[in-house]
Every structure is written in structure tokens, then in C-alpha cells.
């Protein structure tokens, strides 16, 4: 295959065990140039181990791992010159300033972006001369991303870039990551926020217990599993489940978190039938709504577990 120019990551049957723990147990995936690829999963799923093998921080036990067309075991130095790395929750030299840290890290590479330009890119201009230890959580995370961009990398690895940030800081980081994609940088990120993956990623892989369970574009993953949409409502008293399950278009009825949820292939038909039935027994459905299935539902369906911190 002549995939070298198109693929930035090629992983085939990667395994990495720690003693009896199969952290990564036969993972295969590819990432194309310019793509934002997300790896989703709960803590301990094997996401970080996978990404650290790709970054050259850990040797794989077996399998093929190529980054930018180069084997990670044979060409770690050449790869490190061309990738950007942001690790989970790293606090850097606490008493160096933002400018000093960017200058220092820049000096580790053959080519590097001017520090001023990086500081502007992550919007840390006002904190350029503040010590790293005095930055807020969001600012530290932006600094950490600026450090990942110091060599103008072709491929950036972001390991849970928004964990622990407030919603506003998270959104500002999302803008930053979209900006990277706009200028053609490939991105591989891990997250356990479904919303983040939906917002940012062209494709995602859902990982659990060292395996990739499902992979593809977010809309495909949802569509593949959930053709129906969900009609949800509250009522008092509750309507009998067996009655609801017989309504037109309903494939399944369930109680979820205090709400009654009807999974339907024919939303107008189901809603019409629901209102008619409710009227017959003089019960008024409240907070009636319709939603598409989400990645959260896909994960729940795949693993039987909710995906939370």
C-alpha cells in the first residue's frame, strides 16, 4: 500500500500488557492527514496507553505502529521532531514564566514557532510573564497546548485536553482545536466527554478494556445502532408500559431517570397515538420532547455502562 502520504497514524493489532493487565489488547486503527480523530472511553480503557505508544513514550509489546509513515520503535527521534504532545495533567517547571517555558521547549526542536505567535494563538498575552504555577486551570491547559504546538507539528496528540475545566474554558479550547484543523494539522485526542467528541471529531473510536468496540463518524455510529429517535415525557400517574409498547411505531418503551422514553421509527405516528391514548385515560403528558440518540446512548448500548468521570 502507498498509504504513507495520506495516513498520519497506522496502528495494527497493537498490544501492551502490564503484568496481567491487558491495557491495550489488539487495537487497529488509522488516522488520515487533516483528520481530528477521537478516542473515547472511561478511565482505564487503554486510551492513554495507546496514545503514549504513539508518542514514543512506551514501546509496544507487539503490533505495527507507524506515525507519519515512520515506525515508532525505529525512528523515535524523527517522529518527535514532527509531532506535538500534550500529556494528561502535567504541571511544568512551576517557577518559569509562560514565555520562558515556550522558549525552552522551542529550543528542543530543530524548527520552532516564534514564542510571541504561540502566546497569541492560545490567547495568553496578558499572562506571558506569569509563572506557570500562578496560571488558572484553563490557562495552564492552554499553555500545555501551546507547548504541544511549539514545533509547528503535523500531528498533535491531546490527552484529555479539557478534563477538569469549566464549560467556558472547555469551549475556548474547542475553538483552539478547530483552528488547528482549519490550518491542516491532524489531531488525535482522547476524552471521556461525549459532547467533546461529537463537537470536534471527524471520527471516533470507542474503547473499553483495551479493545476498540466501535469506530466511525459520530453520526454513523449513532445511525448504525439507533435508527429510531426517542420520544420522552413525564406523566402522573404513569401510563402502563405494555400499553405504550403497543403504540404505532414504538420499538421499545422504557423508564429512564424518572422519564418515560419511547424509541420510535415513526415519530409523528407515535406522538399522535400517545396523545390519543393519554386523552382516553385523562392523563396529561408533560414536558413532551423528541431527541436523537447521542454517543452517550451508543456507549451505554455497547458496554451497558454510563460513561462518566
Amino acid at each position: 500500500m502507498t498509504q504513507g502520504s495520506e495516513l498520519v497514524i497506522r496502528v495494527a493489532d497493537l498490544k501492551k500488557h502490564y503484568g496481567d493487565v491487558r491495557a491495550v489488547d489488539g487495537v487497529t486503527f488509522e488516522v488520515a492527514r487533516g483528520e481530528v480523530f477521537g478516542m473515547l472511553g472511561p478511565n482505564g480503557a487503554g486510551k492513554t496507553t495507546t496514545i503514549e505508544v504513539l508518542e514514543g513514550l512506551r514501546p509496544p509489546d507487539s503490533g505495527t505502529v507507524e506515525v507519519l509513515g515512520l515506525d515508532v520503535l525505529r525512528h523515535p527521534q524523527s517522529i518527535k521532531q514532527r509531532i506535538g504532545v500534550q500529556l494528561q495533567s502535567v504541571s511544568l517547571y512551576p517557577r518559569l514564566t509562560v514565555t520562558e517555558l515556550l522558549d525552552l521547549f522551542g529550543s528542543f526542536f530543530n524548527h520552532h514557532v516564534p514564542t510571541k505567535q504561540l502566546i497569541d494563538a492560545v490567547d495568553l498575552g496578558e499572562r506571558a510573564h506569569a509563572w506557570a504555577m500562578n496560571l488558572s486551570g484553563g490557562q495552564q491547559q492552554r499553555l500545555s497546548i501551546a507547548l504541544a504546538l511549539v514545533n509547528d507539528p503535523e500531528l498533535v496528540f491531546l490527552d484529555e485536553p479539557t478534563t477538569g475545566l469549566d464549560p467556558q474554558a472547555r469551549r475556548s479550547l474547542w475553538d483552539l482545536i478547530r483552528g488547528l484543523q482549519d490550518k491542516g494539522t491532524s489531531v488525535m485526542l482522547t476524552t471521556h466527554y461525549m459532547e467533546e467528541a461529537t463537537e470536534l471529531c471527524n471520527r471516533v473510536a470507542i474503547m473499553d478494556h483495551g479493545h476498540i468496540l466501535e469506530m466511525g463518524a459520530v453520526s454513523d455510529l449513532i445511525g448504525r445502532r439507533f435508527r429510531e429517535r426517542a420520544v420522552f415525557f413525564d406523566s402522573n400517574p404513569k401510563l402502563p408500559m405494555e400499553l405504550l409498547a403497543r403504540l404505532g411505531g414504538v420499538s421499545r418503551a422504557a423508564q429512564e431517570e424518572g422519564q418515560t422514553v419511547l424509541y420510535s421509527n415513526d415519530v409523528p405516528g407515535t406522538v399522535g397515538a400517545l396523545l390519543a391514548t393519554a386523552d382516553e385515560v385523562s392523563v396529561e403528558p408533560r414536558n413532551l420532547g423528541i431527541r436523537q440518540a447521542t454517543l452517550e446512548d451508543v456507549f451505554l448500548d455497547l458496554t451497558g455502562r454510563a460513561l462518566r468521570d
Binding site: E55, G56, L57, Q77, K80, Q81, V85, L87, Q88, S89, V90, S91, L92, Y93, P94, R95, L96, E100, D103, L104, F105, S107, F108, F109, N110, W131, L147
Partner: protein
């Protein structure tokens, strides 16, 4: 080379901006120099204050006073017998020398061939035997000189003074090299703490994800510590000289070389410790467990010979014993525990062994 320099500058800045680290690496040893200097140095250097009571008041007693004043160990304090005794009871003088009336008469009698004798009295405190003996010795020496001169003879047996510092007396001169050795030991062993900290925080791993060669990361740490070692040495030797009058008899380049070798050995020990420690809290504890007993058992603050036998055996295994010994031999010509070459060989041995351990066991994450 540029990156090594850049990293070293980053380390220097980090240290300079960290007050706690600065205190331990630079101010703590200096504090020791002052503390021990004041305790063992006394206010007037190493002189003994002695009361001098001249009851004769003649040319002869004046000559005796002049001779005693020429003894560098003594600092004379004139007064009446009652005043000087009171001063001694207060602790203002350590002894009182009394020249009784009739001194000159006795000499005159002796020259004319008559038998004559007169006693110069020395009051001493039996609880300060050493001091009293020094004063009595000095008086006896001066008195002998007078006797010989009076009889017109010349001395057959004389004592010529040679300098040789002895470790049996606690002195600032003994302590300055010791404090320097302590500072270098702590500087090296304490290096384990930031290393473990940087590993725990993922800084080592993050840098491992860049093309930076690892030896440069280690090298910059070593350079920083060696620079601080030189600063410590200059400050400690400088203060010892300027404030406490401790002269370095040896070659400063030799001192510098021993400082660097000693620092490198203890740095290697710090690195080896960091190889086995996981958390910063662990590191803080273990570093103290290693350095505190070493400080007290290696004879840097008191003579090696004062240690009981089994502790001497322990001390013979501690690298600090040999760094202190080497520095003392070169800096102030102190008595030796081992020949200088053996000291240096043992330090080099620790360096090689601990570097080997670090190379095998050090983990970056």
C-alpha cells in the same frame, strides 16, 4: 550545547525563585559557619583573657609583663588582685597572674651571687584545666627565659615552634572544611527531591516526548548543582577567612577539584536514591534519614577519634567521612583519617557505583 545551556539556565531560574530551596542549598550552610564560628571562635579569636596583677611595680615586673603580652595566646587585663579575682569569678578572665612585690629585688640579689627565689602566682579554675595549663605553661616559659638571662647563661635546650593543626581541639579551622563537606553532601543528596518531584508531576515524561536527549536533562541538573557547589565553597571559605580568620593553607585549585569530586559523588547518591523513590513525600523523608545520621556519624563536627569504636566502624563506611577528611587535609592541614589519595579513591568509588545504580534503575515516569 545550546539546549544544555538553556536547560541549565531554566534550572538556575527555578532554584533562584524558590526561596525554600535557596535557603537549604545556600543559606543553611552559611548559617552553620556563623553559628559554629561564634560558638567555638569566641569573641576575641582564640585568645585567652588573663588578669595581670603587678604588685612589684618595677622595671623587672614591667619586663615580665611585656614578655607575657608577647605570647600570642594570651590577652592581658591589668588590675589589682581583688579586681582581677572578681573578674575571674564573673568569667571575664580565665586566669589571674600575680607578680608579688620583691621581684626586682630578687633579681638584683641573684646577680650579686646571693641565693634568691620568688614565686609568680597563677590562679586557675580547676574546671577549666586545659586553659589553666596553657596559661601556666606560658608563664613558666617566660619565667625560664628570665632565669636564664639573670644567670647570664644561654639556653641549651630550646623549643622551636612549628605549626601543625591538631584535630584534638575543636576550632573554627576544623569546622570550616566540615561545614563545606556537609553543604556539598546535602546539595547532592537533596537533588533527589526535585528529580522525584519532576517525575511525579510528569515533567520528565513530557520532556521525554520531545527530541531532547536525556543526557542533556541529567547534565543540566548536574551543572546546576556543581555551580551551586562552587558558590557554596566560595561563600563558606570566604566567610571563614574574612570573619573567623581561617586561612586556607592548601592550593585553591586542589580544594576546587575536591569540591567538584565530592559534589559529583553525593549527586550520584541523590540520583541513586531518586531511582527508588516514588513520591515527593517519600523523598523528603528518606533524604533526611540518609543525611542526618551521616552528618553526625562521619566525624565532620568532632574528631573522628572521639567516636566510640563501633561508630568509628560505621563512619568508615560513610562517604562524608572521606570528603570531610580530604577537605580538611587540603584546606587546613588537619590530621587525617585516611591518606588523601584513599579519600579521593573512595569518593570516586561511590560516584561510579551510584552512577551505575542510577543508570540501571532510574525511571523517567
Amino acid at each position: 550545547m545550546g539546549t544544555l545551556l538553556g536547560l541549565t539556565v531554566a534550572n538556575v531560574k527555578s532554584l533562584a525563585r524558590d526561596r525554600a530551596a535557596l535557603f537549604w542549598t545556600i543559606f543553611f550552610p552559611i548559617m552553620f559557619v556563623f553559628l559554629f564560628g561564634w560558638i567555638f571562635g569566641g569573641s576575641g579569636g582564640s585568645k585567652i583573657s588573663v588578669g595581670f596583677v603587678d604588685q612589684d611595680g618595677t622595671q623587672a615586673s614591667g619586663g615580665l609583663r611585656q614578655a607575657l603580652a608577647g605570647v600570642t595566646l594570651l590577652s592581658l587585663h591589668d588590675g589589682t588582685l581583688d579586681a582581677e579575682k572578681a573578674a575571674m569569678q564573673h568569667g571575664d578572665v580565665s586566669a589571674v597572674i600575680v607578680v608579688p612585690k620583691g621581684l626586682q629585688d630578687a633579681f638584683v640579689q641573684a646577680r650579686t651571687g646571693n641565693a634568691a627565689s620568688i614565686a609568680v602566682q597563677v590562679y586557675g579554675d580547676p574546671s577549666q584545666n586545659q586553659t589553666t595549663q596553657v596559661v601556666q605553661g606560658a608563664v613558666a616559659q617566660v619565667a625560664n627565659g628570665f632565669n636564664l638571662a639573670a644567670l647570664g647563661g644561654s639556653a641549651i635546650l630550646t623549643v622551636s615552634q612549628l605549626t601543625l593543626q591538631s584535630t584534638s581541639i575543636s576550632s573554627v579551622a576544623y569546622l570550616v572544611p566540615s561545614i563545606l563537606a556537609m553543604a556539598l553532601m546535602q546539595l547532592g543528596i537533596f537533588a533527589a527531591i526535585p528529580l522525584v518531584q519532576q517525575r511525579e508531576k510528569g515533567i520528565l515524561k513530557r520532556i521525554g516526548a520531545t527530541p531532547l536527549a536525556r543526557w542533556k536533562l541529567v547534565g543540566s541538573n548536574v551543572l546546576l548543582r556543581l555551580m551551586v557547589a562552587i558558590v557554596d565553597a566560595v561563600l563558606i571559605i570566604g566567610i571563614g577567612f574574612a570573619v573567623f580568620n581561617v586561612h586556607i593553607v592548601g592550593n585553591l585549585l586542589e580544594v576546587g577539584a575536591i569540591v567538584l569530586l565530592g559534589s559529583a559523588s553525593f549527586l550520584a547518591i541523590g540520583f541513586a536514591l531518586a531511582s527508588f523513590l516514588k513520591t515527593e513525600e517519600q523523598a523528603q523523608g528518606v533524604v533526611q534519614v540518609v543525611q542526618l545520621p551521616m552528618m553526625f556519624l562521619s566525624g565532620i563536627f568532632f574528631s573522628f577519634d572521639f567516636l566510640p569504636g563501633f561508630l568509628q566502624t560505621v563512619a568508615r563506611f560513610l562517604p562524608l567521612t572521606y570528603l570531610g577528611d580530604a577537605l580538611r587535609q587540603v584546606m587546613v592541614n588537619g590530621a587525617q583519617v585516611a591518606p588523601l589519595g584513599a579519600d579521593l579513591a573512595i569518593l570516586a568509588g561511590w560516584l561510579v557505583v551510584c552512577l551505575g545504580i542510577s543508570a540501571r534503575s532510574f525511571r523517567w515516569e
